[in-house]
Amino acid sequence: MTAAPSKPLTFQQLLFTLQRFWADHGCVLQQPYDVEVGAGTMSPDTFLRVLGSKPVSIAYAQPSRRPADGRYGENPNRLYRHTQMQVILKPPPVNIQELYLESLVAIGIDLTQHDIKFEEDNWEWPVGGAWGVGWQVMLDGLEITQFTYFQQCGGMDLDPICGEITYGLERIAGFLQDVDSIYDIVWAEGFTYGDMRLAEEEQFSAYGFDYADVPSLWKHLELFEAECLALLSQAQSFEKMDALTLKRFPVLGAYELALKCSQMFNLLDARGAISVTERVGVMARIRTLVVGVAKAYAAQQTAAA
């Protein structure tokens, strides 16, 4: 294990260090996905790459938007948009837990000076037909990571399964730097998290809670949904496509449309525009899209093979 650095890492150093660590352990570094997602898991680099038998080692930071968690920048612990560092290893190496612990050492956590526990925490995304078993990793009582062995995705059993490590970067940075407010985290020398992101939190909280136009959101949702469904219906006939058409068929585009629907749903929810009765129905509609895309993606891979 490498020696711990003496000065706590800045937010950006934390990201560099984790990226460097996983790159050194064979991961391909990917850029954040550029469509709004609620969690790193929803990026196609996780959600779609876990399907099929092709090995994957990939790591990326993913800004994750959860409109309902916005607090106008007034709550020191909650954000409308936080950053997850996502590591996907398929199949998971036998020493995946040890690797993870080494990554903590790399970012300056001397394990002999702390209390670390793996506490049962199973993960589930019903809209994606996805679930896994695993732990929340507790460091001196703080949940710093969600560690999951993905078992199903898009309602399909995974084989091989994949290991997913999700670091909560703001949490970890706050811990390393010992600050009580996320906004006081040093992002880079001379710049705080607040300098970089407070305005965004203020304005997007206001947008999500107060300004977003409900009829427009519903309309967007319907448009994205209709286009996604149209693509999924064409995806029913992969076997009739020639190799080039099959290869170019935009399942990935359909997935972006499904993600847009999910984001519209989250905004409507934050806006208080979805009654509990409607909620179940709308979630079922989005599930149809997301699970439909996963199945189409798997079918495309099979047909192309």
Binding site: Q113, H114, D115, K117, G141, T277
Partner: protein, 700 residues
């Protein structure tokens, strides 16, 4: 020899470890017994989050050879002129012995050839290698996973090593892609990644202790309790709040436990204790600390899975306190935020919270609860129960309003309690606040019932509404499926009626729901089941006592419980047992008579006994004694002095015994016979009001 087996795993969920440890031990012992490798068992099991292990003494190196007696064809077929024919040769081959070792035996069907077949015993290593993997694979886990490509096995978490030693020899058991060896692993941090070699089974525990793992669960539990005590003594006038479940959880989350104490800002003590304790216990696994007057003190105790140096302990304490501060801040934020919308304004928001799609929102449910609570409350008040009906109505209207509060969304387990706390904070009065606070109670059959009459009535109304509503939609529980927790609701109703002073009985609660006759019938039988469950499981009454008292009346569950206590108190007395047996005999005689068409009355109502037809002195004595006794028993029963009443009934024994000794009930004379049946019928009717004694199982 000693057999040691250990499965190394990634961290197993704490809630699943104890039962898995026990199951592994049971399976290994059963396997060794079945395979004749142990006779008496000296066995011990171990577990930590990262391992399950068993250590079994007195395991034989191999099974004894087994002799089996085989019978072949008849001698006539097997031998021709004393020479073994093909049948004899085939039989000897099957038995695995030379033809000349065949014997002949005499059976009732004639003479046959026989052989003693010897199957050689297998070695323990062979048996364990072949059979143990199947036992491992069969262990029950509440939630399983795959981890290897091709999905060859499912287990709770990935297997990371296997260790199996018989004496000093490795038994190469295979599971999960590993072959057992003699290596195990110590504490992740305190010992590090280097393996620990085990030379012989009996050194296992000591070797692990040296690698900072306490493999024995009892030792860890004891260590945690002692450490909690010791660390708590560093805080003046403080003691930790007993929490068996949390001690258990932390025992199963640590390999090398220690405890630290931390503090929080006393200003957080203005938040309700319920919220603070929930954050500490349920979200952070901390033990709460209280002062000498049992009030929450601004400290917490955390169980660590490490042995920190003083500096590290300082760091860890600081880190845990920091997390707790953030959580308490959140709770305070939600509390303050929630106060902007008082409970009364939240009722309207319940329109958007669905209770059940066909039963509507929680706003509708609140209205139904209010009507139901008012009905029950009025009834109770008419029976002189001191009650604030207005407060009950307010509480009923507001009891679900906290479902819209941020604090309840954050701490769902505190629904009801938070409503009650808000009601108090918003000065709606103690009666209203207490009723709302308690209305989900009892949460289990061991849980307490609401403290106040208003709380009890509100709890009854809420639960009865759920049951009546779901039953009317045909959504009653079936088998293990009870998605709306209606059994728990019904158990709660039974428990409240049994343990409160409410002057209400089950039938009245069912009627108050205005359920249709068909639904009411289903509810009655559902509650009958729950009443039986309550008397047996909660009051721990014997099966036959429960049947006996419920047969004598099941609507008033509090009375049934008292009667059951009385029956249990006297059932072992000799006279009572004899009278019970006699009552059973009477019931049988009447039943048989009814079957033969001689008696058509059943046992009630009893026809008059014609004293002039009582010919034998013993029946005259029984008649006179029963008449006198019936008056006394009726008086005692009315005064609910059930033990006295039962003891009185038992005094009838000499007359009953004498009657059965002297008299044939089934007399050839029809009039005499009918009169005797009438006498028995009346005795049964008069004395079965407390319990149907014929249900009591008597010895012999």
């Amino acid at each position: 020899m000693d057999f040691l087996f250990e499965i190394g795993l990634e961290e197993v969920p704490a809630r699943m470890i104890a039962s898995a440890e026990a199951e592994l031990l049971k399976r290994v012992t059963a396997l060794l017994t079945r395979e004749r490798l142990i006779s008496t068992t000296t066995a011990k099991s171990f577990s930590t989050p990262r391992r399950l292990a068993v250590l079994i003494s007195g395991v034989a190196a191999r099974q004894e050879d087994e002799a089996e007696e085989l019978v072949g064809p008849t001698t006539k077929i097997a031998y021709k002129d004393g020479v073994p024919g093909p049948a004899a040769i085939a039989f000897a081959r099957k038995a695995g012995i030379p033809v000349e070792d065949l014997r002949t035996i005499q059976t009732p069907k004639g003479e046959y050839i026989a052989a003693t077949a010897l199957s050689p015993g297998r070695s323990a290593a062979e048996v364990l290698t072949a059979e143990l993997p199947k036992e491992i694979a069969s262990i029950y886990w509440a939630k399983n996973m795959y981890w290897r490509a091709g999905k060859p096995e499912k287990f709770v978490r990935p297997v990371r090593w296997l260790l199996a030693l018989l004496g000093t020899e490795i038994i190469p058991i295979e599971f999960g892609g590993y072959t057992a060896g003699r290596l195990t692993y110590g504490h992740r941090v305190l010992h590090g990644a280097a393996p620990v070699a085990i030379d012989a089974p009996e050194t296992y525990a000591a070797a692990l202790e040296a690698a900072f793992v306490m493999p024995d669960v009892g030792t860890r539990r004891h260590t945690i309790r002692k450490a909690l005590d010791r660390v708590c003594r560093t805080i003046p006038d403080a003691r930790w709040r007993e929490d068996h479940d949390l001690v258990d959880k932390m025992t199963h989350m640590t390999e090398w436990p220690s405890v630290i104490a931390g503090d929080f800002d006393p200003t957080y003590l203005t938040l309700p204790e319920e919220v603070l304790v929930t954050v500490m216990r349920d979200h952070q696994n901390y033990f709460a600390v209280e002062d000498t007057s049992e009030k929450l003190a601004p400290h917490f105790l955390a169980v660590l899975n490490t042995a920190p140096t003083p500096e590290a302990a300082q760091t860890i304490r600081y880190g845990n306190a920091r997390v707790l501060r953030a959580r308490f801040n959140d709770a305070r934020f939600f509390w303050d935020f929630d106060q902007r919308t008082p409970l009364s304004d939240r009722v309207a928001l319940l329109e958007n919270v669905t209770f059940q799609k066909d039963l509507g929102s929680y706003a509708r449910k609140s209205e139904r609860i209010a009507v139901l609570a008012a009905r029950l409350g009025t009834m109770a008040k008419e029976r002189w129960l001191v009650l604030d009906l207005e407060a009950l109505a307010t509480a009923a209207r507001l009891c679900k309003a906290d479902l819209t509060a941020e604090l309840v969304k954050e701490f769902t387990e505190l629904q009801g309690e938070i409503g009650g706390l808000y009601a108090r904070h918003q000065e709606l009065g103690d009666t209203v606040a207490d009723a709302i606070y308690d209305h989900y109670r009892p949460l289990s059959t061991d849980g307490r019932i609401p403290h106040t009459a208003e709380g009890q009535l509100l709890a009854l109304a809420d639960k009865a509404d759920s049951i009546a509503g779901m039953f009317s939609l045909g959504l009653e529980p079936t088998g293990s499926k009870d998605p709306f927790a209606l059994r728990r609701a019904a158990n709660g109703i039974v428990k409240i009626l049994a343990e409160s002073n409410l002057p209400l009985i089950l039938r009245e609660v069912i009627e108050a729901t205005n359920a249709s006759p068909e639904v009411a019938v289903k509810m009655h039988s559902f509650f009958a089941e729950r009443s039986e469950f309550y008397l047996r499981e909660v009051r721990e009454q014997a099966y036959d006592v429960v049947k006996a008292v419920l047969a004598a009346g099941s609507e008033d569950i509090r009375d049934a419980a008292t009667r059951a206590d009385a029956v249990t108190a006297v059932r072992d007395s000799e006279d009572f047992a004899a009278v019970s047996a006699a009552f059973k005999r009477m019931k049988n005689i009447l039943a048989q008579a009814a079957q033969n068409g001689i008696w058509e009355k059943g046992i009630a109502p009893a026809p008059a006994v014609d004293e002039s037809l009582l010919t034998d002195p013993s029946e005259q004595h029984l008649n006179t004694a029963a008449i006198h006794l019936a008056r006394r028993v009726t008086g005692l029963r009315a005064a609910k002095e059930y033990i006295g009443a039962l003891e009185a009934i038992a005094t009838l024994r000499p007359q009953v015994d004498a009657f059965f000794d002297a008299v044939m009930v089934m007399d050839p004379n029809e009039a005499i016979r009918a009169n005797r049946l009438a006498l028995l019928s009346r005795v049964l009717t008069d004395f079965s009001g407390i319990a149907d004694f014929s249900e009591i199982v008597t010895a012999g």
